[in-house]
Symmetry: C2
Subunit: 338 residues, 2 copies
């Protein structure tokens, strides 16, 4: 019906979505107030009262054109993890833990089966990190979206006690950059990747990808760093700054975590770059610097600590690798690029 285009929440209507609705309800913690609040989700915030100076940390993001690959391959089950984990990581860099998540899903027309798969993966991703999927909206707007185009947007709210905010203030030249591996492209660089692989068979196993297919590798969900980073926070390791490497790569994301006037040098070769990035660079004939400007290049998350603490972290998190150090010039340099 035409008027359904105008932002009417399909979830209130479609009977076929009962499985997804059950998955969403399964995310409700005891703090979630149910039965009431159909106009808005509700959650008791008593937890915040226990903190000396609660600070709410919030972020909104989208999965970008990764949805087009999901549509092409019919693999919708990872997108929920993509957006939930992306948002969780964005809070985590400030030391905040997530409280709840909301989604927005829009398209020209939403196949109930597709909507069900996306909602279920959103709910499962929320349940994995222990937060309720507290609300959302779904819209069909053929006047605005291309046929087959779908946008998935998430909003997350988290909290941190002001005394535990990670804000980069103590970062100094010589501090160490520790990198945590990415699971793949995460949710950035897909427009370029899709151009490079235009016309390729996405399901064919490829030796350059250790026998995996492009569909396997490109649709690998965005990794969540909540568990490893929480381990460090709970061990009271004084982390000076953290960066989530998303759109714009290290060049754009590291500066967001550092104080004015400081920069960083990363030594390429000090961490393994997953084969997908080499394949994109070779087949797309893309300059190394451009690759680092578009993709995470295998570094999904970066921690900044002083030398002594960095050594502790490596023993606590063997996957953490020394990838560079802080410089007293306001620039991001990647050395050893060929």
């Amino acid at each position: 019906m035409n008027y359904e285009e105008a932002g009417v929440d399909i979830r209130r209507k479609a009977k076929v979505l009962q499985a997804a609705t059950a998955a969403i309800k399964a995310t409700y913690t005891p703090e979630v107030l149910r039965g009431i609040g159909a106009f808005g989700g509700m959650m008791e915030a008593s937890r915040l009262k226990d903190l000396a100076q609660p600070v709410l940390v919030v972020s909104t993001d989208g999965v970008g054109t990764k949805t087009l690959l999901a549509a092409q391959t019919g693999r919708w089950g990872g997108l929920g993890y993509d957006i939930v984990n992306h948002c969780v990581n964005d809070l985590l860099v400030q030391g905040a833990k997530p409280l709840f998540f909301l989604d927005y899903i829009a398209s020209a027309r939403l196949e109930p089966e597709v909507l069900g798969m996306v909602l279920t993966s959103l709910a499962q991703a929320c349940q994995t990190v222990g937060i309720p999927l507290l609300g959302g909206e779904t819209a069909e707007m053929p006047g605005i979206y291309r046929e087959g185009g779908l946008d998935l947007v998430g909003t997350i709210v988290g909290v941190v006690d002001k005394a535990h905010l990670v804000d980069g203030a103590k970062v100094q030249p010589g501090d160490v950059l520790l990198g945590l591996p990415a699971s793949g492209l995460h949710t950035n660089g897909y427009s370029l990747a899709r151009k490079v692989f235009e016309g390729w068979d996405l399901e064919e196993p490829r030796p350059e990808l250790e026998g995996y297919s492009l569909a396997n590798v490109l649709l690998e969900p965005h990794r969540c760093y909540l568990e490893p980073v929480s381990r460090l926070l709970e061990a009271h390791i004084p982390i000076k700054a953290m960066a989530h490497i998303t759109g714009g790569g290290v060049y754009e994301n590291l500066p967001r975590a550092l104080p004015e006037g400081l920069g960083a040098e990363l030594q390429s070769g000090s961490w393994p770059v997953p084969p997908i990035f080499r394949l994109i660079q070779d087949r797309g004939n893309i300059a190394p610097n451009e690759m680092y400007r578009v993709f995470n290049m295998g570094l999904g998350y970066i921690l900044v600590l002083d030398e002594t603490e960095a050594q502790k972290v490596v023993s606590l998190l063997p996957e953490a690798q020394r990838v560079g150090y802080i410089m007293d010039q306001p620039e991001i340099r990647v050395s050893g690029l060929s």
Copy 2:
């Protein structure tokens, strides 16, 4: 650049958006922590600690295809008010006051001028209701959006003390429905309205619209009910339930506010229906019931109170009109439709 499609935040880049950035900064209350938190907006939540049982109330919504009319007429300055006010009203029905707002703006390509107008109107709308525009994301995705199609989505977080939640629990048969006038279509029914007026001159003054043009009337921003409803809440008027009449009209929105088993009868003619709805109904040859299923029909917000309290409200809010009453059958009826 192609990779800009992939959810990169244009606000971090575009120099032309300084005016919008200033407008956004002007929304920052003293609770907003600035200078830090580039990955996520931050706000001190000390306010919540003063409440006995703080409950967070959250909502995400979009403006739907109203953006297509804005594009057609170049009038972008109202859309920010549309989405902010829509979200504020969604919290208000539960007695919650807004804390902060986040936006998401996506299109095939975003003209900086258009983006600037939308961001500025979002900021001004937030400032009008006294909340910070704490975060947002902007994306250009030609693979997902139609040329000229723009989607505007908002997420709001508010708070209410549990003892003051308005949840409909005390609603009884015979309770009175008071309606507050809408400023127009608000943000619903635009796909149908656009179909009806396809090919019409949107700027021509029309006698059926009291001399206003379709552009004037159709792009009138969604009204915010925070001020009048707050007056009642502060006067401790025991409001039993409230409904924000959005997509689905009274038929879909009133039941969301009422307990199981109860319904309502509205007497058409007991409030003035703005001329735009008559014009749509006549020119679209649409059945009266269908009109009430798509549009707010001039009732943007409905309060449910017992008889005595209803009389108090009418004296406090002269614009509030008695439009119906609660029935002991689970159905919404509009009587006197011709």
